[in-house]
Symmetry: C2
Subunit: 230 residues, 2 copies
DNA sequence: ATTTGTGAATCGGTTCACAGCG
DNA sequence: CGCTGTGAACCGATTCACAAAT
């Protein structure tokens, strides 16, 4: 049953399914069941079926899903039948690493511009791209039809970078800076925050260490073990 | 009311609160209400209160929370009163960038080792660390008491890297490789996947573009606008 | 016979709204 | 009076379980 509004959680899993499906074509798999796709993507099969049902009825009962066709449908849903130009704002270690990241462009994304406000960096090159002046952001974004802004500035500069991206008419932003940034309602913002991820791991690591030490002390081997896993 | 089991969603927000609180001490703020902290962290105040209530009753009714004391309690809960040693597996662009990332170590995390299987890289240096042989991973992890493994290998090598980290007794892994990896139940695994983030943005970007073009075509300015936002 | 697609049940998490306390 | 802490209501997402399809 085709409808609009795919749940957010489903959208976040579609890229996972897509990756698994692409892997399968490389191993010349033609058809896949929800069970097999679930296994490959690391989820359960009910979730796969429900997720795919939001896109339409693309499976065949008793058979499964045609891999190629499903790749096409998911790609279309995700907007990957066109290319998207990205601009990296802030060319430090991370910005440079992302600019060089191969397989970034592999699925429809292209780094079209690098900007920085450090005059010592402007004019320098990363791969075949020149580092340009942050002040020219709006012009560059318009000229190169940039749709996605990637912020890799220090935390203190992140909000300013976001403001300029928004004023350049960009409404999709990926923020790597360890800072909360505010954008208008019509702008999509996603964040990747290394230190937050490490802190989350630290929480569970600590909990495991505590539990282990209790176990060691009490010599209890397999009883009343309340789960310590996320 | 103090209990065990802090919900996963709460754990993921504690680092956010912590960052906001640290910012506040720098601006010499002594006390904060759930309303103010919510604003700073970009969530709502009911969530702040409920989240903090899982840690204990650390607020004062009619007053708010003591900033310093709350920093201490959250840090303790997150296991940040001790330092954690990390090992980066795979020293490509991204591994190198993370190794150089300042403010990484700022809150209790230290890059204690870099390993790679490329003999051309082994023996090289990144900052003050030497790149060591992937084959020596277990020994290095033990010697330096590494608790957290960070995978920045190509996708094809990621599972192998994870297996070796697990066999070295590490049970916290942060995976940057664009690949699904399997780990035992007692290992915490978090993933950061650039291309998935971009694909999610692409989905919403496409949806916005579609809506905009309808708007442009029909010249409707403010009616019956079904939400297009995540 | 097999596997999809989906209502219904369930679960975790969010928000509401107010009692309880400083 | 103001703000926390928390039951209760609510909501989105997950899982169950089975009827429908081939």
């Amino acid at each position: 049953m085709k409808e609009n509004s795919v749940p957010e959680a489903t959208v976040a899993r579609l890229p996972l399914y897509l990756r698994s499906l692409v892997d399968m074509t490389e191993r010349a798999v033609a058809t896949v069941s929800s069970e097999q796709l679930a296994e490959a993507a690391g989820v359960n099969s009910a979730k796969v079926r429900k997720d795919l049902s939001y896109l339409g009825s693309y499976g065949t009962r008793g058979v499964g899903y045609d891999v190629e066709y499903l790749i096409y449908q998911i790609s279309r849903e995700l907007g990957l039948t066109q290319d998207w130009n990205c601009m990296i704002v802030g060319v430090g270690n991370l910005g440079r690493a992302l600019a060089n990241y191969r397989g970034f462009g592999s699925r429809g994304f292209r780094v079209a511009a690098l900007v920085d406000s450090d005059t010592a960096k402007i004019g320098g090159r990363v791969g075949d791209l020149e580092i340009e002046d942050f002040e020219d952001l709006e012009r560059i974004a318009k000229e190169r039809q940039v749709s996605i802004g990637i912020i890799t500035t220090p935390a203190a500069a992140a909000q300013g970078a976001a403001d300029r991206l928004v004023s350049a008419g960009i409404h999709s932003i990926l923020n790597f800076a360890p800072a909360l940034i505010q954008v208008p309602d019509d702008v999509s913002l996603r964040k990747v925050d290394l230190s937050i991820e490490l802190q989350i791991l630290s929480f569970y690591e600590q909990r495991k260490a505590a539990f282990d030490s209790v176990r060691r002390a009490r010599r209890l081997t397999g009883s009343a073990a309340r789960s310590t896993r996320p």
